[in-house]
């Protein structure tokens, strides 16, 4: 059974794309991540033009993070004030990112930029998660599982202006770092078609020193809005959002996520992290190989219209 995608202008097998949506959903539920970092590369491997893949992934991110965001909000795990500051930066960054996509496509460097960003970010983050997971697993084996507490200091941020009180997070810090972090994530998210949680969460924990319990909810809160804006801007600026493709992937994705969550609850956190780190590194490696190996054809075509 095939379906014609109106924006990607290609005829695709429904079964393959629903299966893709289900698997991505399963993994995102399992690891508690958005799954955009897996979806975008897989779509391009299947022949979807990379700009369409990025824009459509953004809409998938909205679907996969909105329910999590609401659940966390109900449980009081969202620092709204911090979320809004992050979002202010995030929305600006998204705007810059979408404009960058347009510019890079015209110059012919879009695919290269996306691949390089995937290799660098996934490579670094994957390694960190893997190392941390392995250490935690060892630690659990050695001590029986009592985590060590980080120190709450961020001395270099003390001198920055525009300090603000964040009662939920019990922080009194300058809004400059969250603004910059939000902007960076927004820009990255728009270019790579991902939510950016895997960079945002560590940044909130290690740079802003937010309480761990608030980190996931607050990051989901910001991701929903950033991905929503990225989708709308991609639709307006690049005309690369394929709603039919989005629909297939989202239907598979939301169902798969429920199974993933159920399985994820049976696994140990550090084992999940080792698996996630490995998966992220695998994607990064695949992208790196494509950059380094001689391409099948050194020539490529670019047309002026939205897709293909």
């Amino acid at each position: 059974m095939t379906l014609y995608l109106p924006i990607a202008e290609m005829s695709v097998s429904i079964v393959v794309y629903v299966a893709l949506g289900l698997s991505i959903g399963f993994l995102s539920g399992l690891f508690g991540v958005g799954g955009g970092f897996l979806l975008m590369p897989l779509l391009t491997f299947l022949g979807v033009p990379s700009a369409v893949a990025v824009a459509t992934s953004s809409s998938h991110v909205v679907a996969s993070s909105v329910s999590g965001a609401i659940t966390h909000y109900r449980r009081g795990n969202v620092d709204i004030k911090m979320g809004i500051v992050l979002l202010a930066g995030g929305l600006t960054g998204t705007y810059v990112g979408v404009a960058a996509v347009k510019l890079l496509r015209n110059l012919g460097y879009f695919d290269l930029t996306v691949s390089l960003m995937y290799v660098v970010f996934l490579g670094v983050v994957g390694t960190l998660i893997l190392v941390e997971g392995v250490n935690a697993a060892r630690h659990v084996r050695a001590t029986g599982g009592h985590a060590t507490r980080r120190s709450g200091q961020h001395s270099w941020m003390e001198g920055l202006p525009l300090k603000m009180r964040f009662p939920r997070s019990k922080l009194y810090i300058s809004i400059v770092p969250p603004l910059i972090i939000g902007m960076f994530i927004g820009c990255m998210s728009a270019i790579m078609g991902i939510g950016g949680g895997f960079v945002l969460i560590p940044a909130m924990i290690y740079l802003l020193r937010m309480p761990t319990g608030l980190v996931i909810g607050t990051s989901l809160f910001q991701i929903v809005f950033v991905a929503a804006l990225a989708t709308v801007l991609h639709a307006v600026e690049n005309k690369t959002v394929d709603i039919v493709l989005a629909l297939i992937l989202i239907v598979g994705g939301v169902v798969g996520a429920q199974f993933g969550t159920a399985v994820g609850e049976k696994l140990r956190g550090e084992h999940l992290r080792i698996l996630l780190g490995g998966l992220i590194l695998l994607v990064a490696a695949r992208m790196a190989i494509d950059l380094v190996l001689p391409p099948a054809n050194v020539f490529s075509l670019a047309t002026a219209t939205g897709a293909s």
Partner: protein, 264 residues
């Protein structure tokens, strides 16, 4: 007049007069089986039949090969940039490009035999017949443009090769066949990824390398139904389209969360 001369004259008349008077120039008429191709959500490509007849055909049998027919089906022309990667610091990067202002988005050619055997370069060039003769207009050069003629040729060849790989440039050297002394037919494949735009079918009639006639006909290619509605909304009202996509995504996310809610 001497009898011998009279005889030879009458023989000459007998030979030449019918050839001049009874056989006017051959001409061609043709059409496509489908004037309208609808691109719907179930579109997986299609075929169109181009058929026609040679008027005043002197061809004794369908296989005689007195005439050559070339069918060219062309999509509208659009700008295309061809980019070339080369290795920079260990990774493959687009380093050179060539921009064409106008290249047919789709180009299918079928003929009774290879086009190079049918007519010479000048004729093929003049009518844009065959991959080597397709009209492609270059634009003014940009910084990364190739300038060397050999390189330019390489880019042109690469463009054609890539279009062939996408099945939007198709060539069938013996794709036109006569089914009678004057009637001919050819099938042209439209792949699922055919650029959605009107097509023009040009049918050329050749004899001994000379173009005797040409007949053009149009095939409309357009989106229908929901495909058309979605595409039009995306192109003309992108803000509405984007917002709707987001609402749809959010709606599904929330629905799933409620539908699968487990006791917390």
């Amino acid at each position: 007049m001497r009898p011998l001369l009279r005889l030879s004259l009458s023989m000459l008349m007998a030979l030449s007069v019918p050839a001049l008077a009874d056989v006017p120039n051959e001409s061609i008429e043709a059409d496509a089986s489908t004037r309208q191709v609808a691109i719907t959500s179930s579109f997986t490509g299609t075929e169109i039949l181009v058929f026609g007849a040679v008027s005043n055909s002197t061809q004794p049998t369908p296989e005689a090969g007195t005439y050559d027919i070339i069918v060219v089906v062309e999509g509208i022309s659009a700008p295309v940039t061809v980019r070339m990667k080369s290795r920079v610091g260990g990774i493959w990067v687009n380093t050179q490009s060539m921009r064409f202002a106008s290249v047919p988005s789709y180009y299918a050619i079928a003929s009774t035999r290879p086009v190079d055997e049918i007519a010479d370069r000048a004729v093929l060039d003049a009518h844009g017949i065959g991959f080597d003769h397709v009209r492609m207009v270059r634009t003014s050069q940009s910084r990364t443009d190739a300038t060397d003629p050999a390189e330019m040729q390489a880019f042109r060849q690469a463009l054609i090769g890539l279009k062939k790989d996408e099945h939007v440039y198709v060539q069938s050297d013996f794709g036109v066949s006569f089914v009678g002394r004057s009637l001919f037919r050819a099938t042209i494949a439209l792949p699922p990824n055919v650029p959605v735009a009107p097509l023009t079918a040009h049918v050329f009639l050749f004899k001994d390398g000379k173009l005797l006639g040409q007949y053009d006909s149009r095939v409309m290619l357009q989106r229908e139904g929901i495909e058309r509605y979605i595409h039009e909304t995306a192109m003309t009202r992108p803000l509405l389209y984007g917002v709707f996509t987001v609402l749809m995504a959010a709606g599904f996310g929330l629905t799933a969360a409620f539908a699968f809610r487990r006791p917390a």
